[in-house]
């Protein structure tokens, strides 16, 4: 009987295609928008990825990594003086403008790291030599900068190419692999001292101190010591877990800079609302199109279902037929929608924009929602069929 149910479904090609299209669009909207949102949120903490230090020390009111609230230069020494700290280095991080050879300007994320230790340097070099960063006017750019900082569209910036930051020469000595910044601009690394030369002078220029704990001291212990002994705020820099975000939702304070950064954007910007509305629209499209079309499909087949019931098909078999039909279009629609999302992801990752990051739970969550929609649609049909009197088939 289930095979017949599927034949009945596929035979009504207009409704079948409408159902599949509705669920595919719903899947695409929900999965793609969630992934773009997660991608955007991962971009907010890209500086933490690109400056791989285990502990970040910032001014007490700082809540997220892109917030600039400078420290005193002497704060580096204060952090170094904490007994549980192995090493500590100054860090500059800020948005600057680059003037290209063509005269046009581009926005960059400038990172200034300690010239002696090179702590905070990119973890993976794609070309050039990290050590040359100590040479005069040297910078390292990321792979996005190779395209973005070129004078003409389609050209690429190579080693030893030159551009200007605040009228001062910057020569490319290396190319690094990096995560794209929240502003979409490329990362440019230089030494801390040179970064201060590039940037218009201010009374306080130190954005953060990056450091690591001594061997045998845990990160949590180290940040507690730094906090206690310096009065500065210290965060650990580690991958955020789902539980940590749940803790933030419950109002528990976090010591993870990644969680704190992402949560700040969720709380203080309209980004989640904007993406959330699109996801809800996807859900509504799915519910409206699927339930309405499936119910109409059931109504159109009511006389045939009545005939089946009169011929001895049990209510449970009819229900199973409807569930099979609903879940079949659900799975097919979900598959097509996810395929569309994969296509979008492929293009996004290739072009490095828009941001795209799909956590593992997203496809499962979307599948659960789609099957929920299908269950709702099937239940509407089941409700109608359960009230169907088989005697109706004798009334012409």
């Amino acid at each position: 009987m289930l095979r017949l149910a599927l034949k009945m479904l596929f035979g009504d090609s207009a409704k079948y295609l409408m159902l599949v299209a509705g669920l595919a669009v719903a899947t695409f909207l929900m999965a793609q928008q969630t992934a773009v949102f997660c991608g955007l949120m991962s971009w907010t903490k890209s500086t933490l990825k690109n400056v791989p230090a285990p502990i970040w020390v910032v001014e007490d009111r700082v809540e997220q990594v892109n917030e600039t609230n400078p420290l005193l230069d002497t704060d580096v020494a204060r952090v170094r003086s904490v007994s549980s700290v192995a090493w500590a280095s100054p860090l500059y991080s800020g948005i600057q403008r680059v003037r290209l050879e063509s005269g046009s300007f581009k926005v960059i994320q400038l990172i200034g790291i300690d010239a002696n230790t090179l702590a905070g340097a990119p973890a993976k070099m794609l070309g050039g030599d990290l050590m040359k960063l100590r040479l005069p006017h040297s910078v390292i750019i990321d792979d996005l900068g190779v395209q973005r900082l070129a004078s003409k569209r389609g050209e690429k910036v190579g080693l030893n190419d030159v551009f200007e930051i605040n009228d001062q020469e910057a020569r490319v000595v290396g190319i690094a692999d990096a995560v794209t910044s929240f502003t979409g601009g490329p990362y440019v690394w230089t030494t801390y001292e040179r970064a201060l030369q590039y940037v218009p002078a201010q009374r306080k220029m130190l954005q953060a101190v990056i450091c690591a704990p001594r061997e045998g001291v845990s990160l949590d212990q180290a940040i507690a010591d730094i906090r206690r002994e310096t009065g500065l705020k210290a965060f650990v820099n580690r991958e955020a877990s789902f539980e940590e975000f749940l803790g933030q939702m419950r109002g528990q304070p976090t010591t993870n800079f990644n969680v704190s950064t992402v949560w700040w954007y969720i709380k203080n910007t309209g980004i989640p609302i904007s993406f959330g509305i699109t996801v809800i629209v996807g859900l509504m499209v799915g519910i409206a199109v699927s339930c309405q079309t499936f119910y109409s499909f059931v109504l159109e087949n009511m006389r045939h279902l009545g005939a089946l019931k009169a011929m001895g098909t049990s209510n449970s078999t009819l229900c199973l037929m409807l569930i099979t039909q609903a879940f079949t279009v659900g799975i097919i629609g979900y598959g097509i929608g996810l395929l569309g999302t994969a296509g979008f992801a492929f293009a996004a990752l290739k072009n490095e924009q828009p941001p795209f990051y799909m956590p593992e739970f997203v496809p499962f969550a979307v599948l659960a929602v789609i099957l929920g929609i299908c269950t709702l649609a099937a239940l509407m049909g089941i409700w109608r069929v359960s009230r169907l009197e088989p005697a109706m088939v004798f009334r012409s």
């Binding site: 017949l4 045939h304 012409s396």
Partner: protein, 250 residues
């Protein structure tokens, strides 16, 4: 003790009553029906529109419950069965031919005819094999994989008949089986029913207004205003009313 006549009775109705609605809008459709439907016979149920024929066959088929009276189908009191039991009984013992055929448009002839066997849990391959055999018997061997929309009205009715016969039910209930057919196709269909009833000893109950087919009947039960007002046994000595409906004659 059962008499030979009792053994021939497929459906026995005594004092069947049925009403619809409540209060002032309550309408009594059947007002005490007594009727025997015999195996090996074609029994026709005739009467004007609204006299209760459709309600009566719905009750005999077990798709509608009577308010009062006794109904046994092949000795089984349907009122003693649960809804699921009635459904199973119907699936096994009763074949249906509907006025509007009710063939599923997206299925082929073979698939449509297989339905009653699939309902009984018979495997797809066995059901299709049996369906093809029955379709061959009704002269549709060339139309196995056609859909209903590709068939004429007469051919669709023959598919519906094949569907009603495929699981070898002992009682076949037909609602206006020739209403949508021309005289030639109507004659073919009735010959099929004669073969089924007399050749295979099954009971065929036909609701009809079509006096062209009265001569195929063994018995004609005339209904009016919720009652069976006459049962006319058709034989050589008592031919069916010619060219006039029984109701008009009465």
């Amino acid at each position: 003790m059962s008499t030979p006549d009792d053994l021939k009775i497929a459906a026995k109705l005594r004092g069947i009553q049925k009403s619809f609605g409540d209060g002032e809008s309550r309408i009594q459709v059947l007002k005490g029906i007594d009727l025997d439907v015999r195996s090996g016979d074609i029994t026709m149920l005739v009467g004007p529109s609204g006299c209760g024929k459709t309600t009566l066959i719905s009750i005999i088929a077990g798709t509608l419950a009577a308010d009062e009276g006794q109904l046994t189908v092949f000795g089984q009191d349907l009122r003693r069965l649960s809804p699921a039991g009635t459904t199973r009984f119907r699936a096994k013992n009763i074949g249906f031919i509907f006025q509007a055929f009710h063939l599923i448009p997206t299925l082929t002839c073979v698939e449509n005819v297989s339905v009653p066997l699939l309902i009984q849990g018979i495997s797809h391959s066995k059901a299709e094999k049996k369906a093809k055999e029955v379709l061959e018997k009704v002269g549709l061997a060339e139309r196995f994989h056609h859909r209903p929309s590709q068939l004429s009205g007469g051919q669709q009715q023959r598919v519906a008949i094949a569907r009603a016969l495929v699981h070898e039910p002992r009682l076949i209930i037909c609602d206006e089986p020739t209403a949508a057919l021309d005289a030639h196709n109507g004659h073919i269909v009735m010959e099929l029913f004669e073969h089924v009833a007399r050749g295979q000893d099954r009971a065929v109950l036909i609701v009809t207004h079509d006096n062209r087919i009265f001569h195929h009947a063994n018995r004609i039960a005339s209904m009016d205003d919720g009652r069976v007002i006459e049962v006319h046994d058709v034989d050589a000595a008592h031919p069916p009313p010619d060219h006039l409906s029984v109701h008009e004659r009465l």
